[in-house]
């Protein structure tokens, strides 16, 4: 297997409902990534695109083929990845595998979504399609409902009083909003920077115990990255960021995962694969962009990735251990909560953020000092798909 580098990254602003088509959004992110990586469209040998819901959002299927033509990557193989909210990371990981294998030298990967365009009722319906349509949806499960149940289960499992856990979860949202308010690419840029624990606790109850501010927004947006083999990368950029490890695993519906809940077993597997492949361990990680679709999701994710002990991560957030300057900076971009969650694009957006951080090109107020190694974590559905990647500065 060859070493694979991220040589270019691009991203649109993540936002609420907007008027650009999915292809247009992806084209903007993709051309930015190619410019950033000194790559021309004709050099791209394949295009991998994460996209879940364009069929529902704009009546558009096969967005990847039309995007390839739209940006001048004429007639290359173009694949679409659907793994719910992990789709973008599936695309990036597969691109990495193909380049590592030697089949391609340069692949463009990313994702696009218009989840905000769907509007809350249809978005809630379509996101619930990532639960079991026959054995979970009929009872009325929703996506917030999944994580709401995990929050109650987490409280019961680790014997944390629910009011105390709610305060810990609120601390996660407060940190994410503080950072995201300073990220111009983020959906909540300039908003909620002064969010407080009290405001989180008193906002509208979406699915008990999760309030509106425990939940990420629905978002439109696109992100793209150019991956290249090590030898090609060295010719394209002085700042290659290597993907040293990548892991991916799957699970059945939430009700099938009962041996492990509230842990997400696919993540335990995927993160172990990524650590093993990279030869690194949690203590080597300087910053993480993880899948905080809900505040409780951050606690569960960070523990399975080995960053904090089980049942202890909420206290770690409250003590600032997950802050920039803390033990490991988690979601300095604002994460899904504040930067936004255009689901097919989210994972590629995480790679964008980690790459910018490792290059020292993050927004100055959000730059993690001396960041050498970063990690991404993307969760599809309620653990049906999880992808973890470890990236490191290559110079």
């Amino acid at each position: 297997m060859r070493k694979v580098a991220v040589v270019g990254v691009g991203e649109t602003k993540f936002s609420g409902p907007q008027t650009k088509t999915g292809v247009e959004l992806f084209a903007e992110a993709a051309t930015d990534a190619m410019k950033d990586g000194n790559v021309k469209a004709k050099d791209v040998q394949a295009l991998f695109v994460g996209n879940c819901l364009s069929d529902f959002a704009e009546g558009q299927g096969m967005v990847q083929a039309f995007a390839a033509e739209n940006i001048g990557c004429f007639n290359v193989p173009a694949n679409r990845y659907e793994g719910a909210c992990a789709s973008g990371s599936m695309a990036v990981r597969d691109a990495m595998m193909w380049v590592a294998s030697g089949a391609y030298d340069i692949v463009l990967a990313g994702g696009v979504e218009r989840a905000a365009t769907l509007g809350t009722p249809l978005a809630t319906r379509t996101f619930a399609m990532f639960s079991d349509a026959r054995y979970e949806f009929p009872a009325g499960i929703t996506f917030p409902g999944v994580f709401a149940m995990l929050a109650h289960l987490y409280a019961a499992t680790y014997k944390i009083p629910i009011d105390k856990l709610r305060e810990q979860m609120a601390a996660v949202s407060v940190q994410s909003c503080k950072y995201g308010a300073q990220n111009p690419k983020g959906q909540f840029f300039g908003k909620y920077g002064d969010l407080t624990v009290e405001k989180v606790l008193s906002s509208f109850m979406v699915a008990s115990p999760l309030t509106l501010h425990d939940c990420c927004p629905f978002s439109d947006g696109a992100a793209a990255v150019v991956l290249a083999s090590e030898d090609v990368a060295k010719k394209l950029t002085k700042k290659p960021v290597y993907i040293l490890g990548a892991g991916q695993a799957s699970s059945g519906p939430l009700i099938s995962q009962y041996d492990h809940l509230p842990k997400i077993y696919a993540r335990e597997l995927a993160s172990k694969q990524a650590y093993k492949q990279s030869g690194l361990s949690p203590k080597d990680i300087n910053l993480v962009e993880l899948h905080d679709c809900f505040s409780i999701a951050s606690l569960i994710a960070s523990e399975s990735m080995g960053l904090f002990d089980y049942g202890k991560s909420g206290a770690a957030w409250q003590k600032g251990e997950a802050a920039i300057g803390g033990r490991v900076a988690i979601n300095p971009s604002g994460g899904l909560k504040s930067k936004g969650h255009p689901i097919g694009a989210t994972g590629a957006g995480q790679v964008y953020e980690v790459t910018k951080q490792l290059r020292g090109e993050a927004i100055p107020a959000l730059q993690v000092p001396n960041a050498k190694t970063g990690m991404t974590d993307t969760l599809g559905g309620d653990g049906g798909t999880v992808v973890n990647m470890i990236l490191q500065r290559g110079w």
């Binding site: 319906r125 917030p144 409902g145 149940m149 009700i255």
Partner: protein, 136 residues
């Protein structure tokens, strides 16, 4: 290989108040809802059995924002129940005021009642029974 216990058969049984599952003839584990193979050991050597429908609530949530077309159901409470035979099911709870549902529910014993029906929407390829539990 033919599917042993399809959704259709499981669903029809649940509508009459019968909870079906699969018992592995190799490892003895119970799989419910049904799958092609034993969820524990992967064996195809399964037999259909009737489950008791009794268990314990492991977690819950009261939903205030529903999927499109189901807004009128709000607020409603969903529960995950660990069945006596092992598997977990997702269903609803009767006899508990949704807005008063609290952590007190966790660990409570329940028994399955006559299922209610989700009538389906344009995406769902028909109706589905929804497991309904009551505190015992």
């Amino acid at each position: 290989m033919e599917y042993k216990l399809t959704f259709k058969e499981y669903n029809e049984a649940m509508k009459t108040g019968k909870l079906l599952g699969l018992k592995c003839k190799d490892c003895g584990s119970i799989t419910a809802p049904p799958k092609m193979v034993c969820r524990k050991c992967g064996s195809e050597n399964l037999e259909i059995i009737q489950l008791k429908g009794t268990g314990q609530i492991t977690t819950f949530s009261t939903i205030n924002v529903a999927a499109e077309g189901r807004e009128a159901e709000c607020p409603y409470t969903i529960v995950m129940v660990k069945l006596e035979e092992g598997p977990w099911l997702l269903g609803n709870i009767t006899g508990v005021e949704p807005l008063k549902a609290s952590m007190d529910l966790v660990g409570k014993k329940v028994k399955m009642q006559q299922a209610t029906i989700f009538g389906g929407d344009k995406f769902s390829a028909g109706e589905s029974a929804r497991p309904l539990f009551a505190l015992v």
